[in-house]
Structure formats: structure tokens, C-alpha cells
Amino acid sequence: MTAAVLAIRWVAVGRLEALPPRRGRAVRVGDRRIALFRTGDDRLFAVEDRCPHRGGPLSEGIVHGHCVTCPLHDWVIDLAEGRAVPPDEGRVRTYPVRVVDGRIEIGLGTAP
């Protein structure tokens, strides 16, 4: 379904220390709102910061496992899959994340 991503542009968004485990932070790239998470097992995920339910700020949710619970009405979003955990339904965009020299970078797809 998603358009083929031909190139990835990595954007540095801050240092790893700024994001403690089990926390999320909001990031803005242009007018995109992205939520960045560090899970308890120290993995990083980035998804669109808009809950598929009613647009709640996922970056403010409680992080558990590889999921976040939206602060507005408690939908649970699977961060790796970028989708709501059943019985709820809906998707959020996911973005690749990497750490280079202690700096977090988010990958934005650029079509040709």
C-alpha cells in the first residue's frame, strides 16, 4: 500500500539522553508531527504523532512493551506495526530511526 521509498533522508532530532526509557517526545519536521519513543528494552520507534482515533498526541502516552496508550481515550498503538491493537482499528505512519554517535536520527522517505 505504501509508495515505494526510493531514498531515505536522515534528520537528526536530538541526543539519546534527552529521551529516557519508556518515554515519548514530540518532534516536528516541517508540518509533520512525529512521536519518538524509547521503549523499556531500549529500542527507538517513530510514528506519526496523531492517534488514528481522534488525533490525540501519542507522544504523551504511557509506553509499555512496544506499544503506547493514547492519552485521550486509551487506544493502544503498536509502534512497530504502526497500527491500533484490536478491537480498535486504524493506522499511523511509521518512520525508521537510528542512533549515530549518540544522536537520534529519523528517516524521512523521499520519492524521486
Partner: protein
Amino acid sequence: MSRPRLVVIGNGMVADRLLEELLRLAPDLYDIVLFGEEPWPAYNRILLSPVLAGEQEITEILTRDDAWYAERGIDFRKGVRATRIDRARRLVHGADGSVVPYDRLVLATGSRPVVLPIPGRDLEGVVTFRDIADVERMRAAAARGGRAVVIGGGLLGLEAAAGLQRLGMEVTVVHLLDRLMEQQLDDIAARMLREDLEGRGLRFLMERRTRAILGERRVEGVAFEDGETIPADLVVMAVGIRPETTLAREAGLHCERGIVVSDTLQTYDPRIWAVGECCQHRGRCYGLVAPLFEQARVLANQLAELATLRYEGSVTATKLKVTGIDLFSAGDHLGRDGEPLVLHDPGAGVYRKLVLKDDRIIGIVLYGDTVDGSWYFQLMQDGTDVSSLRETLLFGQVRLGDSGHDPVARVAGLPDDAEICGCNGVCKGTIVRAITEKGLFTLDEVRAHTKASASCGSCTGLVEALLAHVMGGHYERPRGERPLCPCTDYDQDTIRRTIVREGLKSIPEVMHFLEWKTPDGCRVCRPALNFFLMVAWPEEYRDDPASRFVNERVHANIQKDGTYSVVPRIFGGVTTPAQLRALAEVAERYRVPTVKITGGQRIDLLGVRKEDLPHIWRDLTAAGFVSGHAYGKAVRTVKTCVGSEWCRFGVQDSTSLGIALEKLCWGAWTPAKVKMGVSGCPRNCAEATIKDFGAVAVESGWEIHVGGNGGVKVRTTELLTKVATAEEVLEYAAAFLQLYREEGRYGERTAFWIERIGLDELKRRLVEDPEGRRALAARFREAQARAQRDPWRELAERAPAEEFRALAEVPA
């Protein structure tokens, strides 16, 4: 292996329900191709009315997204109209030139709005009310303001009129007859409805036949047969619907008003079925979703090759979705061949009429209070002999008892098979089972699991009442039975005891020791564990922000748009001009969009951006304010009345005691929020008897009341004891709160806690055991010495303001 191909034409509400049911019964039976001419995935058409009124957004009423179809392998031709059926070759032609062969074909093309064949019907600004495109047109027109004329005073016309009026247009409804909604209402109910709508500013022109719509290019007015004309900037035609049968007719399928189908929804061609508004079954076409969803269920069963269900027709009931108007109608509402029973209370705006024939209900009209609608409807559908109920029937189901208007008590009295959600045919028993077996807590969860209240939403109140009823019941279950959450098998009491006994000092330790089933819990258990540890180890435990709900983490209430509200503490509700000035300055400085007096005697600054929070706090702190904890499971307000200092009835100084109580208790974290009240005499203006802790002054001192609640489930307090002095009230308050902190369950307000343990237990611990009381109070004061650090000051001083901003703002 190639599977038979099922083609569905039309992606409306019924097709959507059909697909869902079919995939549940037989996920792999067919290759499915779906034509939907609207440029949207499936949506809830019923909710177009609230969308028009601006109460919901289009995105909120979509029931699917594109991925849903892809994941189920459905070839969804979105925005493509089917233009022709070639029955000989078994092909469907699409407007995009595509040709799709079928083995089985379903027509679910719905209806089209009727457009009156009068001059001017093609002018710009003349619309119908059927789909998203129509609503977008109306909203665009309403944005320019002006006058709207709605032709048609039926269900759709009135919903359109109410919506346009809410959007600020001046609206006139034109109706051919002298009675609104004549299909559903009798004279009296129709008149009450009209008066209510007039009271909201709608205008009505009754018994008018429209002759023409006037204007050059755009609509300018409407002319009637009697010669009168009125100006208009928008004209909505809501005069009826006609089943969409074009494709079927052109393909030579037998049609009358709709496409004629059998009890298995089959047309005269055995490879083709029709379902929903487009079909005609046993001479009837339906225009409401309840019977149509029933058809979808039967057809899914047929297509899944189970063939165990048949559709035998439905009785329908109607409700109007205009916020604030309650109306229910079903069956033979005029009662020409029955005997009417009527109850009419014009003062209360309530009207009930039941039409009986041979001791059975054959018609129902309810206006103003429709809670009993589903019960009457059930009696009518079942053909129950009501002769023994006759005397009291009009008062509704459980009016006879003491439950009055309390919806919780009333749903409690309903039988298990009483239908709660008419659209989806969900009865009480199904909902109750889902709540208890699946452990559902919220309306959304109930919707997700049962579909109750997921369509038109008019039964939302009933579903909520059921939730309150069932969850209230939890508290009577045996102690300690229910696990804290699905991450663990242990209940709250066991977990708390284990924390203390084993000396567990952190969330990971607790989870490890008690063999948590998830790596790091969930949004239910983590905040609970954080609280348990904080109470168990007040000195050593360091609060874990990652285990706090956002409100408690950022010390402000998140709002629906992601901004926050800030409520400073105003001790005992008493303020000063200087405080008010400081608040006013802060509100102006940060351009706070809404300043509101709360129900708790303080002032709410609403709509603050997260990045402004530390700055607002710094300014409020400088002016002497501390956080009001309006966001936390914490001590909230202490509401006071004027008391003996000014009031001519006051017998004690309630204001001073309230302030002292709040100074003692603010900053304490508790299992659920705690509200207090102090009244200066038994007139009780501070409503102390619906607070968690209340003091009411009497000549000889103070009555202490506990366990009140004014929220979802109102409960009045019980009298704990009487004391002589204000100091004793403070000691009781401290002891009471500490006991609640130590033994109450997380999320359980004092009302439920006391119901669970009993007032006697509380008296034993607090009243009959002065030593125990003093020990509790002392522990509370110790914990308070640490807790009474204002989180706003701390955050404003210590936390870097960056933490409240986005981690990064990068140009695109």
C-alpha cells in the same frame, strides 16, 4: 485454486455490514470486488446529522480506512460507479472502463433523495441530504451565513434544519402537511416537537406546497402555490428517498418500488441478491438501519453457504437525532384501530402514548423521555399480553419502584433480553456479558466489542448507565478476586501486601517478583504500582514519570486538541483582588483562550500550549499560587460556604475550616481524586454531603460525613461521627485520607471503597480506636511534609523548559 468471485455494488452501511459478517463467517470463500461510487471508504451515514451540526468531523464517522480492505484482500474500487450489469455474460461494467466477471452479485445501492420536479431545482445552492458531498456543500454554504429553507418536515429535514441552525443560519422548514414527521408522530407529539424547535429558533411554514425555486444562477428564494415567496440562500430538499434501482431495471431484474427479493434476499436472478434500502421485501422498502442490518446478517449467512437464516420482515422504530430532543415512535402511532393510552405532562414536556389492540401494544409515541422506548418496543415486537400491566404501563418499566429518573436504576431493572441498541439489535444481556467477561471499562470498549451505540448513538446514555450499573456491582464481589489488569493474576490487595512484606522498592522489582506477564506492564498497572510504592515507601521511593498518566506527569489536564488547562489552587474558594489581578495578567500574557469558573470554586485557564506551561507556572508561582491538582488522583478542592463570619444562619466558621483543611491536605496523592466540602450550617450550601469528606456545622460542633460522590454515580455521604472542634475535624480528615491511601484500591473513589469495606469497619478504625486514628493522622502528616512541594514551582525552577517543547523542530 481459483475461488468464486463475489461482486458487491455499493459500499454503503449495509454493504459494509454484510462484508464484515461474511468475512467473519467465511473469510476465504470468495474473491471479493467492491464498487463504491463515493470517494470514501465506508462511513456511518447516520452520523451525517451530527457532522452537519458541527458536533463531529467527517474523519470521525469513517468506519474503515483503505488498509482495511487491502488487509482482507478485498479489491475495493473506490470512487468507481458500476454502470451496467451484463447478466448473460455475468459481467459488471465500471465507469472507469473496467469489466469484472462475477459468480455471485450483490446490489447494495441504497436510495437516492427525491428531487421535486419544479422549476429552479438545478440552481446552485439547491441541495439534498444524503452523503458526505451533500454535507460538505451545506457546510460551505452555512459558512457564508444567510437564510436556509428546508423543504420537508420529516426526520431528515428536521435534522438538516437543526444542523444548519447550529451552524448559524436562519432556518425555515416548509412542510406540506399540518403535522411534522407525520409518518412517526401524532398531533400532540408533533406539536410539542414543533414548539421545542421553535424555542430553539427554527421557523416553520406549514401546509405550504412549493411551486418553484427562484433565482438566476444561484438560489434567491422559494415560491409557494399560494403566491407567497420567501428569500433563501440555500435550499435543502428533504422530501423523501427512492430506492436506487437503475442498474437492476436496466438489467431486466424485476423491480417494483425497490428490487424485489425473496426471504433469502435473492432477486429473480438466482446469482444476484439485493440488500438494504434498494430492495423490496414482502412489499416493503425500509429506510432505517436496524432492519437493513438484519438483512445483511441473513445475506451473509446465505452467501457463507450456511443457509440457516431467513429474513421475514421487521417492525421499525424511529428516533430523532437532534441534540436535546428525545423522541421515539414505532408501529401504528395514530391508533386508528386501537385504543390509545395517554400520559401528557406539558409542564415537564413529557408525552407518552401507547396504542393497544387485543391487549397488545401496536403503536408507541414517546416525547421528552424515551428511556422506556426499548421496553415498550420489546413488548410490542413480542406481542406480549399487557392486560396485567395496564394500570402502570404508562409509567414505564421500573417507575413503580423507587428508581425514579435515575437511569442506572432503570437499566438495572430491565430484563436481559431488553433491546438497548436498536440499530444493531444488541440487548442488555449481551452488553452485560461483554462488560463482565471481557472486563470492559469504557463506552468505546463496549462499542468495539458489541457495536451497541456504535451507529446512531442515541442509546449512548443507556449503555453508559449499564456500564455504571455493572461496574458499581464489582464492588460487591468478594474481596481480592479481580486481577489488577491483564498483565498479572494478582489482585490489588495481594500486590500491596507483597510490596510491604517483601520490601519491594521499584516497579521492575514488583513485576519480577510477582511474575508479571508483560515486559513492562500497561497503562493500568504501571500508574497503580507507582502509587502503591509511593504510599509504602514515602521516604525512599522516587516517583516514575513514565508511569504517570500525562496529566499527572505534566501537572495540567490535557484537552481534546492537545492543549492543556491550568487550575491554580484557591484555598477554600476564597480569593483576593490581588490574586484575581495576577490571574488576569497571566491569562492575557499567554493569550489564554478561555477563562472559566469551575464547579469547584476556582478558575480554569483553558487552552494553554504545552510549551507555555513552565512560563505560566513561573508567573503563577511568583504571584503565590500553587497547583490545584485538578489533573490528578489527588486532593482536589475543598468547597466552602460563607459560614458564621457573614451568613445570618451560619453557626461555625466553615470558610476558615475549609482553608485549614485544604492547607493540611493539598498535594496528597490518593487512590482516586478526593473532594471535600465544609458547610456552616445544615443548609449545607457547600454540598458537603456529596463529597468524599464533608464537614457540616451544627450548634455544638461539626458532623463528619464520608463517602459521597457527585459524579457518574451520585452517592450521599454517611455520617461518620460528630466532634466539637475544628482541630478534631482536621485529625479525622488526616486519618481518613491516610487509611484510604493505604487500603483503598487504585482508581476506587471513597464512595466505592466505603461500600466495599462498610461504614462499620471505618468507624472501628477511626472512631472507636483513637490511638489508631492518631497514628494514621501522624503518618499522613509525615507524608505531607514531603508531598507538599508545589510541583509547578519545582518544574518551573528545575526542569528545563525544553522538556515542554518538541524535542526538535526541523524545517521540512
